[in-house]
């Protein structure tokens, strides 16, 4: 009997412990996601990348922290003009691959897209054909998984907005895609901790098209 009670207690202990672990994960994610929403400087994005990567490495079976680590690394790469864009792009792609290894998602395609775009920025004219094509492929794949992901349209639209008109970009081409993105953002109801960023920026980008 004593043994039985002991094992029962032990079992209870383990369950609480496990719950505590996942509570801890949720709490840590929520805390860092709150930070993410207020983050502005390149250095802050780098700090946050570290936080998410630590969570990812400790958890080992959650793709979201790898996703956010990749997102923060990419945003850091876009913001810091002095950064080694080839190395950052490689790191972003590496984090995206780690997220994919756990679960391949349409959201992570956005991260991989950003990884290629950062590397493209090293030499846009020379790399357009290869890196641009790789980036486009990621968005294609994302749309195949989920044709209603607003962030995929936002990325595409913003990319076109930043592409010179003479190579097929410009306001007129970007506008319908950004409109679609904004419409999808309006009805987008992500699960807790899932990506929900981009609505404001997409609306901003659409404003620029007018």
């Amino acid at each position: 009997m004593k043994k039985f009670i002991l094992s029962l207690m032990l079992l209870a202990g383990i369950t609480t412990w496990a719950n505590a672990q996942s509570d801890k994960y949720v709490a840590a994610m929520q805390k860092n996601l709150a930070l993410f929403d207020s983050t502005k400087t390149a250095q802050d994005f780098l700090n946050l990348e570290g936080n998410f990567e630590r969570i990812a490495n400790a958890e080992k079976n959650q793709w979201l922290p790898y996703y956010y680590a990749g997102l923060c690394e990419a945003l850091y790469g876009f913001q810091d003009p002095k950064a080694d864009k080839d190395a950052i792009g490689a790191k972003v792609l590496d984090l995206a691959a780690k997220a994919d290894a756990i679960q391949k998602t349409d959201e992570t395609r956005v991260i991989a897209y950003m990884g290629y775009i950062i590397q493209l920025m090293v030499d846009p004219q020379g790399r357009y054909m290869t890196y641009g094509a790789n980036a486009a492929k990621e968005l294609e794949e994302g749309l195949k998984i989920n044709p209603n992901n607003p962030r995929l349209y936002f990325m595409k639209g913003q990319g076109l907005l930043n592409t010179p008109e003479f190579v097929g970009g410009g306001k007129a081409v970007a506008k319908p895609i950004l409109e679609k993105a904004v419409a999808l953002f309006a009805t987008d109801k992500p699960q807790p901790l899932y990506p929900n960023w981009g609505k404001d920026k997409a609306t901003e980008a659409l404003e620029k098209c007018k």
Binding site: G50, N51, R54, Q125, G126, A136, L139, K156
Partner: protein, 736 residues
């Protein structure tokens, strides 16, 4: 039992409530703070990233022995065991650069690479955007060190070598006639457009055993694979117009295309006065076709074929008699076809095979004419060289197979064989000459990584020519050492053979191979956006062709010098990309009819190039000024005072004045209807300098005339338009 339980609970509560701060500073070996270091308590969420001062700080509730992991890209990850008790921890430390990522040597960087690769010194765009190059590969490469500025002729004269000592290869197969035929002292262009190639590797010496029959330099061109999208294009310029089509299937596994262009400089020559009297305007018709497809196992088959026809006729004043003129009339055709196959095989083997066929035909007539352009009867035999009918036909068929095995690490083994068939026919007035050669070659080469920072590339090439009836072995080797991050030192040696030019072989088929040994020391610094390349070399020429008193292999020579290249892509000056080169050379040779060892007329001792590129993204416009400088080149008048003399006499000699050339080109990118347009304009010799390329002498040696360009300046304006079908948006448009 109960007390114990409560005890543990209390202990746990205290433990978890006691937050400990861990902080410190991280520096590198030079005591500079390291930013962006990720500091983590292993397998926990706790950690921080260092700020710009290298400082970090975080709190943790973990206790006992824990691993603190310090990681930064490019540095060795450091793991420190910390024992967390009730006191805050302060920990300063140092990270060492990662030897694995930064010290790996690269074998490839012995040649100047143009393309998208990391070691590229020029990109394909550079060839289009470099001022003065006007989309001509060889002209663009003349802005690299080791090459000579030769205004009177096309081609690359590299490190004391004549232009024919540089050979060009498309997908591994030698191009017999890379340039359009032209008249003496009227330079012509490269036949092949730069956008045909994804990689251009220009070796100024010590090149791989996979290539042969070039004493000085190898220009290795690799054609593009299947293009990204279907496209139609048009070129409109006052000099030429052209159009083309490229179709790619949806899966991007098959593509085909063709282009046609027609050049007629008649209108241009009316606007810009030329010195020679062009009685037949230079005209070129050029057609090309291609197809490419992917094989099942990820290989690729590529075909490229081109046919062109060109003609020109010009009259220049005779140097021998002022009242007379030399009229030169040329018609030429050229066919080139290349079929290549690349296939990955099992067990890390790779196959590279190529077949090529080319036939070049020229029909040249030169006539002595009087002041009213009527034929002038010949009275002296030596005028035979001024009044002639020349027909030549040069046929080349080649096959080459290379097998490559990737071994452990980056080690690799390559070997293969190659066969060239050449039939050369020349009719010169009443004389007929014919040459036939079966050339075979076998080669093997290994990349051996002796240590992480030390790599050896060693190869050997066997060559046999049936015409010469001789065989030889050419060893090649290079040792690369990466002595510090970004810094690499390479020592290369190679023995290179080349058949004498057909022009000499028709006189004496017993002529053996000419040869050159290269000894090169290369230092390369490869920064993030900067590159420094410094090379010192010594070249020993043996068995060069002598044409007097007999056709023999008794010639010899040497070349030694240094080449410097520095490129800075937007690093120090914002938005300005520039490179500078300087070459010093000392070279002499005793060959052809030279009476002794002399500096050849294609060698200037000092050459300096500055290429600047600036792109204004707000107005989608780029400009590129380039400046070339070369010290004077020697010129000689070699005269045979009597038919039985052992040597020619140097009756006059000197050095031309310095060569200076400032070119400028600009391009503007725009949208034209649904197409993408590039408006391009360029002007050469902005400073309007009178450059002299040498002197020529009358038969008697009494009259001497400078060799000048056909016009002081060259202007070019063109509009290129392409209409592409971009499939990357299909999915997104389908969902809108």
């Amino acid at each position: 039992m109960r007390y114990l339980f409560v005890g543990i609970l209390i202990l746990m509560a205290t433990l978890s409530n006691a937050q400990i701060t861990i902080s410190g500073k991280i520096i590198n070996g030079k005591k500079k703070p390291l930013t962006g270091v990720s500091v983590t308590l292993n397998d926990t969420y706790d950690g921080a990233t260092t700020d710009t001062k290298g400082a970090y700080r975080f709190t943790t509730t973990e206790k006992g022995e824990q691993k603190l992991v310090l990681a930064l890209n490019g540095y060795d990850t450091l793991v420190i065991v910390v024992n967390i008790q009730n006191q805050n921890i302060s920990l300063d430390t140092l990270l060492k650069p990662n030897k694995e990522s930064q010290n790996e040597v690269v074998i490839i960087s012995r040649s100047f690479k143009a393309g998208a690769g990391k070691n590229a010194v020029m990109t394909s765009q550079d060839i289009y955007t470099t001022g003065g190059a006007n989309g001509d590969i060889s002209q663009a490469l003349r802005n690299l060190p080791g090459t000579q500025q030769l205004g009177e002729r096309e081609g690359l004269a590299v490190r004391g070598g004549d232009v024919y000592e540089t050979k060009q290869f498309i997908d591994g197969s030698m191009i017999a006639h890379p340039y359009f035929s032209s008249a003496t002292n009227v330079p012509s262009r490269t036949r092949y457009p730069p956008n045909l190639f994804k990689d251009v590797a220009f070796s100024t010496g010590g090149y791989s055993a996979l290539y042969g029959q070039a004493l000085s330099s190898a220009l290795v061109l690799e054609t593009i694979d299947i293009p990204e999208k279907s496209e139609a294009n048009a070129s409109i310029t006052p000099l030429f117009w052209g159009g083309g089509l490229q179709k790619v299937n949806k899966k991007k596994t098959f593509s085909w295309g063709m282009d046609y262009s027609y050049t007629n400089v008649g209108l241009y020559f009316k606007l810009v006065k030329q010195v020679p009297d062009f009685f037949k305007m230079p005209q070129y018709h050029s057609v090309d076709g291609n197809f490419r497809f992917k094989t099942k196992n990820g290989g690729i088959v590529k075909y490229y074929g081109t046919f062109d026809y060109n003609q020109m006729g010009l009259r220049r004043q005779s140097i021998d008699t002022l009242a007379l003129k030399n009229a030169f009339d040329l018609k030429g055709t050229n066919v080139y076809q290349n079929l290549s196959w690349k296939e990955p095989l099992s067990n890390n083997w790779k196959l590279n095979a190529v077949l090529s066929f080319s036939n070049n035909h020229n029909n040249i007539n030169q006539q002595l004419q009087d002041s009213s352009n009527n034929p002038y009867p010949i009275t002296h035999t030596y005028w035979d060289t001024l009044n002639f009918a020349l027909r030549n036909n040069d046929l080349f068929a080649q096959g080459k197979v290379v097998l490559e095995k990737k071994l452990l690490g980056q080690n690799a083994l390559r070997f293969g064989a190659e066969y060239w068939y050449n039939k050369y026919e020349l009719d010169y007035n009443q004389y007929n000459y014919k040459l036939r050669d079966n050339y075979i070659s076998g080669f093997a080469e290994a990349d051996i990584y002796l240590a992480r920072a030390l790599a050896l590339q060693a190869g050997i090439r066997y060559e046999n020519s049936s015409l010469l009836g001789k065989s030889d072995f050419a060893p090649r080797a290079s040792l690369s050492y990466k002595f510090a991050p970004k810094n690499q030192l390479t020592a290369s040696y190679g023995l290179f053979y080349q058949k004498a030019e057909n022009l000499y072989l028709i006189r004496n088929q017993q002529l053996g191979m000419t040869q050159a040994s290269h000894y090169i020391l290369t230092y390369i610094y490869q920064g993030q956006k900067t590159m420094l390349r410094l090379e010192g070399y010594y070249k020993d020429y043996k068995d060069l062709v002598k044409t007097w008193p007999d056709y023999t292999n008794k010639g010899n020579g040497y070349a030694k010098g240094i080449d410097l290249y520095w490129r800075d892509n937007n690093q120090t000056i914002k938005n300005i990309d520039y490179w500078v080169t300087y070459s010093y050379i000392d070279s002499k040779r005793n060959y052809l009819n030279f009476p002794n060892s002399m500096q050849p007329n294609f060698v200037a001792n000092h050459t300096f190039n500055l290429v600047v590129k600036k792109y204004f993204s707000s107005i989608s416009t780029g400009i590129s000024p380039t400046f070339n400088f070369a010290s004077g080149r020697p010129y000689y008048n070699l005269l045979l005072t009597n038919r039985n003399a052992q040597n020619y006499d140097v009756t006059d000699q000197g050095k031309t004045k310095q060569y200076q050339m400032l070119n400028i080109s600009a391009y503007h990118l725009m949208k034209i209807g649904k197409g993408f347009g590039v408006l391009y304009a360029s002007m050469s010799n902005v400073l309007n300098r009178d450059n002299v390329f040498g002197y020529q002498y009358s038969v008697t040696g009494m009259n001497k005339a400078p060799i000048l360009p056909t016009a002081k300046r060259f202007y070019f304006i063109a509009l290129f338009i392409s209409w592409g079908v971009d499939r990357s948006q299909d999915t997104i448009n389908g969902n809108l």
